[in-house]
């Protein structure tokens, strides 16, 4: 700091260490609990010396919580959302920034306004949509009485049902979440900072739009993509409400949601060691992603323009 203030500096470090311990405490405590046998977990207060039951508890959580399937589902969902969001937004931003066409502004504004429509404010209708993605066409069909028309043309009774349900499927878990105002906006901002000369030079060399996109824009966007991979992977992995709505088949449950079956009910034996072992396992992948890609992640979160 500016002047020498040994007392204040010591205090700073003491507060800082206390802060880190307080922030870390819930997880440290969970790690200790996950290593203990059940008799120790329900002793009051719980001993703070780790036991040797960690693998036993992890194994119990793995089988009881069906974590093999659930973690795979979460992984597919999170990767699908990440990949989908980033590619859809890259293409969208490219279209908005590097082309001029009549509906450009409308397209941008309509993508942008999805910011104001999180799934929480349209639970039921979005569920209905997922239950039958062709629903709007069915309504149109019925409205225009096309059944009657078809019957008249064919000369015999015809009833058309348009149905495509994406409930309990990876498509359902991923597709509705790949539209992203955030990513489109960030890529648009970034593309706008790219020097005009690059595009002019590429055009002079006879590069097509898609060649320019592949050879120039994509390599330049690497840092932004890396930052968004972290943010969107965490977002996808931690989704709660949407998977809760559309999955009823246990084979399609995601890891975070599956954990609720591990929480001991009031009249069960308090297997908190198993519940916490499972929780630790499920929170590990996104934490690893954040820690390993920390540099890009912080950059992407704090200054998205660069």
């Amino acid at each position: 700091m500016v002047e020498k203030t040994p007392i204040l500096d010591t205090l700073t470090y003491i507060f800082l260490i206390t802060g880190i311990i307080i922030v870390g405490f819930p997880v440290i405590y969970a790690i200790i609990a996950a290593t203990l046998p059940i008799e120790d977990v329900c002793r009051v207060p719980m001993p703070l010396i780790p036991g040797d039951q960690f693998w036993v508890n992890i194994k119990a959580a793995w089988t009881e919580g069906n974590l093999g399937t659930n973690l795979l589902n979460s992984f597919i969902m999170a990767s699908g959302i990440t990949l989908g969001k980033i590619s859809v937004s890259l293409l969208g931003a490219f279209s908005i920034v590097y082309f001029d066409y009549r509906f450009r502004t409308l397209a941008f504004v309509s993508v942008f306004c999805t910011l104001m429509l999180p799934v929480e404010v349209r639970i039921l209708p979005t569920y209905e949509m997922a239950a039958n993605v062709l629903g709007p066409f069915q309504k149109l069909w019925t409205f225009l009485n096309l059944d009657g028309v078809a019957t008249w043309i064919a000369g015999h009774e015809i009833a058309v049902t348009l149905e495509w349900s994406i409930l309990d499927s990876y498509t359902g878990l991923i597709l509705p979440l790949v539209a992203s105002a955030t990513c489109t906006f960030l890529f648009r901002q970034f593309f706008l900072t790219i020097p005009e000369e690059l595009c002019e030079a590429a055009k002079m060399d006879g590069a097509s739009a898609m060649t320019f996109f592949r050879k120039v824009l994509l390599p330049l966007s690497k840092t932004n993509i890396a930052a968004l991979v972290v943010i969107e992977f965490v977002y996808g992995w931690n989704q709660y409400l949407w998977p809760l709505l559309i999955t009823t088949n246990p084979k399609m449950t995601t890891a975070v949601i599956g954990l609720q079956h591990l929480i001991p009910a009031a009249d069960d034996l308090p297997y908190w060691n198993v519940a916490l072992a499972g929780s630790l396992l499920v929170m590990l992948p996104p934490i690893l992603v954040v820690l390993l890609m920390q540099r890009w992640f912080v950059k992407g979160l704090v200054d998205p323009d660069k």
Partner: protein
């Protein structure tokens, strides 16, 4: 670059050097548009329609009833209670997580050495799902086994029982939601603090201002844009993303004491199948988030980042 400025200028914001193609730009934006129309706009419009209709339990017939669903909603004491609960919850989560995040960031900014290590040690809770934070705190605050619950009972002499007492349950979801958010706030505050020019602080020090005085008269005012942005983000977080916390910990109970608005929409609509009522609630929430977003674009020029 400010969100508002670019948003307004989207008409003109385009490259000088552009490609020309009749179909390609439409093809490129198509996936985005198809998904937004199908899963955002169509459901939103449906919600709007349902909110002014009354449908029979089988969903066969619906009648147009003007704003009757909204009148029912705003005269329902349970809904009004839920609004109050949500406001209290949101304020508490924002206050706890922002003050803790700011405090730790200030300390970390003073610590010259080990900044990178400190950041690593504090950043990871960002990646923990709100629902999992709920499980961790459910254990810490468990009336029979929880160590924090034990401390509360010992130190404050409270008969801690979140299963039966509403205020205890509320405290529980506040802790779980705020804890998870500390690291998000920390990241923004540490970036904001590092952006404050050292020369200003040094000048004040030469003039004899104490570290505390410097904090209040230089750091806090210069940090206020970050503070404002973080406050808005924390409010959005506590309104919408804490669904998992409530679902894991209390399911809105006991006696509706933790039934925040998002949870109530889910319960009334998805579990209780009250279409009109739930749609009206959705519209209220939608209005709310539109207001917050517009407000943010009006006042927050810098730092545009959303959770979605």
């Amino acid at each position: 670059m400010g969100g508002k400025r670019c948003f307004v200028n989207s008409e003109t914001m385009i490259k000088r050097s552009i490609f020309s193609s009749r179909t390609l730009p439409y093809l490129l934006i198509l996936p985005q548009i198809v998904v937004t129309l199908t899963f955002f706009y169509w459901p939103a419009v449906q919600g709007l329609i349902q909110s002014v209709m009354r449908s029979d339990p089988f969903g066969q017939h619906s009648t147009f009833i003007w704003f009757s669903n909204f009148v029912t909603l705003f005269t329902d004491p349970l809904y009004l209670k839920s609004i109050g609960i949500t406001l209290f919850f949101s304020m508490s989560v924002a206050t706890v997580s922002i003050s803790t995040g700011l405090f730790i960031a200030t300390m970390a900014n003073r610590a010259l050495k080990a900044k990178a290590v400190v950041r690593t040690l504090l950043i990871w809770p960002y990646a923990v799902a709100p629902a999992i934070s709920g499980i961790l705190w459910l254990f810490l605050l468990h009336p029979s086994y929880g160590v924090v619950a034990l401390a509360i009972k010992r130190w404050f002499g409270v008969d801690w029982n979140p299963v039966l007492r509403g205020s205890d349950a509320m405290f529980m979801i506040i802790m779980a939601s705020a804890w998870k958010q500390i690291s998000y706030n920390f990241v923004f505050f540490i970036a904001g603090l590092q952006a404050i020019p050292k020369s200003l602080i040094e000048a004040a020090a030469i003039d004899g201002a104490s570290p505390f005085r410097r904090f209040w008269t230089i750091t806090v005012p210069l940090l206020s844009p970050t503070l404002f942005f973080v406050t808005v983000m924390n409010i959005i977080y506590s309104f919408f993303e804490t669904f998992g916390v409530v679902h894991m910990m209390t399911q809105g109970g006991p006696g509706g004491a933790t039934n925040i608005l998002v949870y109530k929409v889910y319960q009334d609509g998805f579990i209780g199948l009250n279409m009109g009522g739930s749609a009206a609630q959705s519209i209220v929430l939608m209005t709310l988030i539109i207001a917050v977003t517009l407000f943010q674009f009006k006042y927050v020029e810098k730092k545009v980042q959303y959770a979605g």
